[in-house]
């Protein structure tokens, strides 16, 4: 494009650099590349997060903690049947209860899942709101329902939607509750799969299943809504303050300029908190309406049960993988078929990893089917569809290796198309001790009643970024203090600290001296935190804004140092002449020379570069121990090797990787949303029988980050929040199979399933 600039850079892995030209938008900075990597003062160093002291002392204020003068407490009331019609909603008793200030009831007459919004109350205390909720009288007429994926697929199953009501697109084929096929992320696949299978010498076809997983952020969804005339301020537990602003403005029919959304700290989202309210509730819109009606601020937080029912979940999946290979392991055909239920929504596709991994295979096709059930709609969960899809694909790869009598790592190497992943295999195999793996047929006995196994799996993600319409601001004050502003929110990733590190690197100062202001729609526009985009969308503009601010500071102090601005360097808290470092002054003294009170620089995001690679690579390894008497699986160690471009702050980045492994381990071994098919209600909407990993389940976890100059943007940063969850389910399934000598193809891998698999293997044995 006109005005573009070309830079020659060193890209790729430090061990195998590639010199290449990148063409970037005019005005872009020279990207950080492999030559810059050893020079970093702050990037890549371990920085405790800036807000840590507030969080560990209980001072950090979350939405749940917001208290405004005169604030009322709201409560959303959900449907208690899975399907039916609302005959009447009588709110008169609730309205008459002393302390109740406003009541809302739904317009909708149809119930499609238990937990769907029916009515809401606002009262002077949470307890009075709870009392009032009990007084709302709802008369319903039940309809037949279906809550399990496999049941809903059967001919004659009760229909969740009639064809006319279906939320699936018009062009999609519909067959009862089953919608599809869609061709998945890689439209149409590659080559000719039937021809590929005809040429294959070994073929494996297996089916895998996993149930719905719920996000379980510890802070439930919620808002505090407060009106001042026509100005609405909303504190929201959200991953996207701007999406909340836009969604609420649209729903309430007011201008975006009149809505301010604030998220200073938020207690976890994992993908479920991207919209204005939640995937299965309009609680935030209702809270705003009721605040207006009551003439007072309203806090409406969902409770733990609602969090499971109406705020989203990761779809279940029933996946069949057929792989054909040559005798030497070269994959020549892959067919991936998945059925999944996102409840009353679509979006249960899981073919992403099958399309993106092993791309040397010329013949690939995927068919994805959505199956409607009477359950709350799914929401994106950390690499949507990918942990599920990788579970099936990477389990099947291990099963192909077994059929070929090949080492599963060798099979993967043979078919690897990514140079990054190829390098990661060695690193991970060494860290886990791959050579100790069970290579016999049958269980790997280590002591009486105990077997151990080692497994691995690959994962993929994509370099997504919001590369237009966002900006960042850097201020240098006259006293030398620095502020960075981005409206994007820190959902616990350490985004705030990462931006301080980027600005500090550019300004040559200590990141601890920088205040980073985030999570407010009054600050420069930022991305929603979905798709692993936050750091790598905002880092390049924080760098650019800091660079602009510094240029202004250089202009002011250059005459004092008898130099041209271009001859100056900022490093270690000083500004000096590059060719004569003794001609120097401190950053603080330089700021004191300002004419005005502040230097204020804004930078807009420029388009993403034509990247070195468009995917993010990762591999994981695990060692497990299984008690063959009880069937209990214990993870001993997991290693995750990940690429996130240049890691800005490994201390927080590694924490995220390990956290993803723990969430995946929990998914693989424990988590199971159970809906009673007789009554259509979830039986474990809590945290004591919907089990998630606890301290007692914890294993030795290691995160190894492989820096890659991926040249997607001027900081070579890429996403990390989602990719390390992608391989985890498969890794654990593969390690368990290696330990017990047979395979559990349904998650979670609970003791009963392990014992059943062992018993069935003995019978066959």
């Amino acid at each position: 494009m006109a005005g573009d600039t070309k830079f020659t850079v060193k890209a790729g892995l430090p061990g195998s650099p590639r010199t290449m030209d990148v063409t970037v938008a005019g005005g872009e900075l020279k990207p950080w590349d492999l030559d810059r990597l050893p020079e970093f003062r702050e990037v890549g160093k371990r920085h405790p997060r800036l807000e840590g002291p507030q969080k560990v002392t209980g001072r950090a204020k979350y939405t749940q903690d917001v208290q405004l003068p005169g604030m009322l407490h709201g409560r959303m009331i959900g449907a208690t049947i899975p399907a039916g019609e609302i005959v009447s909603i009588d709110i008169s008793k609730a309205e008459a209860l002393p302390g109740v200030r406003a009541v809302w009831k739904a317009d909708s007459k149809l119930i499609r899942f238990a937990g769907q919004d029916i009515a809401a109350v606002v009262a002077v205390s949470p307890d009075v709101a709870r009392d009032a909720a009990r007084l709302v009288r709802v008369v319903t007429k039940s309809r037949p329902f279906t809550v399990e994926l496999k049941d809903a697929m059967k001919a004659g199953a009760p229909l969740v939607f009639s064809e006319a009501e279906s939320p699936a697109g018009r062009d999609v084929q519909k067959n009862g509750n089953v919608v599809g096929p869609k061709k998945g992320r890689r439209e149409g696949g590659r080559g000719d799969v039937d021809k590929g299978f005809a040429e294959a010498e070994t073929t494996v076809e297996r089916t895998y299943y996993l149930p719905v997983h719920t996000h379980c952020a510890l802070e439930t969804h919620g808002v505090v809504a407060s009106w001042e005339d026509d100005q609405l301020t909303v504190y929201a537990s959200t991953q996207g303050v701007f999406a909340v602003r836009e969604g609420l403005a649209e729903a309430l029919g007011i201008d975006r300029k009149n809505v301010r959304v604030i998220t200073e700290h938020m207690g976890g989202g994992f993908g479920a908190k991207l919209g204005p309210s939640a995937s299965g509730s309009s609680f935030a819109v209702v809270a705003c309406r009721l605040a207006k009606k009551a003439g007072a601020p309203v806090k409406m937080m969902l409770d733990r049960a609602q969090e499971h029912l109406c705020t989203g979940n990761a779809p279940s999946a029933l996946m069949t993988v057929k792989i054909g290979s040559k005798k030497d392991g070269t994959i020549v055909a892959l067919r991936f078929t998945s059925y999944g239920s996102a409840g009353i929504a679509t979006g249960a596709g899981t073919s992403g990893p099958a399309g993106a991994l092993y791309k040397n295979n010329p013949n690939f096709t995927a068919d994805e089917y959505d199956v409607f059930t009477n359950a709350g709609p799914a929401a994106p969960l950390r690499a949507p569809g990918h942990p599920q899809g990788a579970f099936a694909l990477e389990s099947a790869i291990d099963e192909l290796a077994e059929a070929l009598a090949m080492d599963p790592l060798e099979l993967r190497r043979k078919n690897e198309s990514s140079p990054v992943r190829a390098a990661q295999y060695d690193v991970g195999a060494k860290a886990i001790g791959w050579e100790r793996r069970n290579t016999k047929k049958g269980p790997a006995i280590v002591s009486a009643g105990k077997v151990r196994g080692i497994g691995m799996a690959c994962g993929n993600w994509y370099v997504f970024a919001q590369d237009s319409g966002i900006s960042a601001q850097v201020k240098i004050h006259r006293d030398g203090s620095v502020e960075v502003f981005s409206g994007a929110q820190d959902i616990g990733t350490g985004f705030r600290t990462a931006m301080a590190v980027i600005a500090a690197e550019e300004l040559g100062i200590d990141p601890k001296t920088i205040a980073v202001r985030v999570g407010d729609t009054r600050f420069p526009e930022g991305p929603g935190s979905g798709g692993s985009v936050t750091t790598n969308s905002v880092a390049p503009i924080v760098r650019a804004a800091a660079n602009k601010a510094l240029a202004q500071l250089f202009e002011r102090v250059a005459p004092v140092l008898s130099a041209l601005p271009a001859e100056l360097v900022a490093r270690d808290g000083n500004i000096f002449v590059a060719s004569a470092p003794s001609r120097s002054m401190t950053f603080k003294a330089a700021a004191g020379r300002m004419q005005g009170e502040v230097i204020d620089a804004l930078a807009d995001r420029k388009r993403q570069f034509a990247t070195f690679r468009d995917d993010i690579a990762g591999v994981q390894f695990a060692e497990v121990e299984v008690d063959t008497g009880t069937g209990e699986v214990r993870i001993l160690k997991m290693v995750s090797v990940n690429d996130c471009g240049f890691p800005v702050n490994p201390l927080t980045a590694e924490n995220q990787v390990i956290g993803a492994m723990i969430q995946g381990a929990s998914w693989a071994l424990l988590e199971n949303r159970i809906i009673d098919k007789n009554v259509g209600l979830m039986v474990n909407p809590n945290l004591e029988s919907y089990k998630i990993f606890s301290p007692s389940d914890m294993f030795e976890a290691q995160s190894i980050l492989t820096p890659v100059a991926n040249l997607g943007n001027n900081t070579s940063t890429a996403g990390l929040g989602e990719p390390p969850l992608v391989p985890t389910l498969a890794v654990i399934a593969n390690a368990v199979a290696n330990a017990i000598g047979t395979r559990v193809r349904e998650l979670p891998i609970t003791p009963d399933r392990v014992l059943a698999a062992l018993a069935s293997a003995r019978k066959k044995g």
Binding site: P48, R49, E51, G52, P53, Q54, K55, V56, T57, G58, R59, A60, K61, Y62, Q64, D65, Q67, K93, S125, P126, D127, R130, D131, A132, R134, L135, R137, H215, C216, A217, L218, H265, M266, G267, G268, F270, D303, R304, I491, G492, T493, G494, L651, T652, N655, Q656, I658, G659, I662, N686, L687, E688, I692, F693, S694, P695, S696, M698, E700, A701
Partner: protein, 213 residues
């Protein structure tokens, strides 16, 4: 087996018959029998009933006695958060399953969502706010920050309080003892390993404070 008659509509809709209120009413009964003086103006034979309106309570929180007026059914967690502005302890599961609301009552870690405010009169309550400040953190709080033993941080106050109690009763815990001591707390971001590291580090720092730094 006799089947009880179904409740009338009014019974079913009576807010006093909810699970939560049943537990709370039962709890209040226990309070009133042990702290008889609290039963303000209750007639003889019905002394076990407090409320339903607000009653005055004195709570000893973080070394200061605070007077509040709350309904007898209000939990310690809600009283701390809504009446005393101490929002460090977090509501997350509302039934003692996750530990995010952990506070110390006479030095013991308890789930404050499972205890009534009226039940802790006369006992010493310590919340996370009473341990250290951002400017003067306890060794455990400082270790949490240094080890990055947190992500979103919503569970962190509960872990800090539980970890503080653990180190008080066992100044030199093994890894297994740390896991056990924190087993009642959940972290969805998955920071357990870092938390264990922080507890270990703080234990060392507390045992040999002179060597610190």
């Amino acid at each position: 087996m006799s089947v009880p008659p179904p409740p009338s509509d009014d019974d079913a809709l009576d807010p006093k018959l909810t699970r939560r209120n049943f537990l709370k009413t039962a709890g209040v009964g226990a309070v009133a029998t042990s702290v008889v003086g609290l039963a303000v103006g209750a007639p003889a034979g019905k002394a076990a009933v407090l409320g339903p309106g607000a009653v005055p309570l004195s709570l000893d929180v973080n070394g200061a006695v605070k007077k509040i007026s709350v309904e007898p059914r209000v939990t310690l967690l809600d009283a701390l958060r809504d009446n005393l502005g101490l929002t460090g302890a977090k509501p997350a599961c509302d039934r003692g399953a996750c530990g995010a609301c952990t506070v110390l009552v006479d030095g013991e870690p308890i789930a404050s969502c499972m205890m009534l405010a009226a039940d802790v009169e006369g006992r010493k309550i310590t919340t996370v706010e009473g341990l250290g400040t951002p400017e003067a953190m306890t060794p455990l709080q400082a270790a949490f920050v240094e080890c990055d033993a947190l992500q979103c941080g919503f569970c962190t106050p509960g872990f800090v309080v539980a970890g503080t109690a653990l180190l008080k009763r066992n100044p030199d815990p093994s890894l297994a003892e740390i896991k056990e001591g924190l087993a009642g707390n959940l972290c969805r971001c998955g920071t357990y390993g870092r938390i264990f590291e922080a507890v270990s580090k703080a234990a060392k720092a507390q045992r040999s404070p002179a060597k610190k730094g």
